[in-house]
Symmetry: C2
Subunit: 226 residues, 2 copies
Amino acid sequence: TIRWVGRYGFDLNTATTVDTQLNVFADFQPVPPDGSRDAEIIFLANIDPDIQREVLRQVNSPRLTMLDTMNYWIEAKPKELTQAMAEVDLVTMNESEIRQWAGDYSIITAAKKILNLGAKAVVVKKGEYGSFLLSRTGYFLAPAYPLEEMKDPTGAGDSFAGGFLGYLSTVPEVSPVHLRRAIIHGNVVASFAVEDFGVNRLLNLTRAEVAARYLEFRTFTQFEEP
Amino acid sequence: TIRWVGRYGFDLNTATTVDTQLNVFADFQPVPPDGSRDAEIIFLANIDPDIQREVLRQVNSPRLTMLDTMNYWIEAKPKELTQAMAEVDLVTMNESEIRQWAGDYSIITAAKKILNLGAKAVVVKKGEYGSFLLSRTGYFLAPAYPLEEMKDPTGAGDSFAGGFLGYLSTVPEVSPVHLRRAIIHGNVVASFAVEDFGVNRLLNLTRAEVAARYLEFRTFTQFEEP
């Protein structure tokens, strides 16, 4: 698999790439296994945008597609990446990646450029600062779950995507209300993931724990009219 | 007045101090002007903590006091600052200041240390990432108003304090519900302040604009139960 070597900053919120080795993925030709061509929801996790597009060509008619990426592809294959982004329903990136891709400091301006490619919504992951969603109907901001101690941010983005798309797989349509709920589910799952190293915490995570933390999110974000 | 020379980072979200000159405030003896000794609400803005404490001694019986500070005092007078913090109802600092004061990266841990001094609540200002409130009844997180373009972050913290305490001055008690509304009012006023240089935008800001942006905050932060 791809070998990424990087460093996390003191705050565990910023990652610096030291080296990326594609290894077997340098010449990888994806072949979706039996059954997966009919998947309703397709998540194109961080990989070569040409591979992401090849996967899209091989699936039948998913009702929802989402793409993630990383600084490596923004630098190595910007044109192919932008083309892949134009072919999916949802794009997710972290804060520094979307700024790098757009060449613009403003996350709002950058996200609008992605909507202009045709995406229905853009989800910007801001680590300990939560998530920003921009869709054609407006935007939504959700903080990260406040953790007094975080052990390992590795996989936070992928576990966010899992919680986010996992929720959307349970509802019939990607409406504004459901997108918001999906963002909170993504933040909830990511908050569990970083509580322990690797996937340790996710291995014993229960639906009840996810539901409880979702409700807890409401207790510290909601406020009344003036 | 105090002359602070600093630099804002590329993201306008972090400030680096180059030089601080106390000038006349080096030997300043505060004397509250006539009428202000009976003020109901006292905001001890960033200044020498000994001066902050002296002001507290000279006011009669305010129903609410809040203290702000800066890296300069955390380094130069940590003991006096901590003593001043122990004498007020509310403490506000930005993210890097509270970490520096507490010697702890975790904002939750740092804020708990301030509650242990006796404060009723702690408000951590996170710039473009919004505000974090910790009180004895729990915490509350509010994003900053998403601005596509920001012109000048100078004074964002003081305008936050103005909106925050201005709201609390209109309600009879500092309840959890009112503290949340106060945070949103603070974020709203700060968001206007940074839209233009200096106090330009605040000079022509209306109550109706504040109220409209408050309601707008609800549209991009609220979400339903799962």
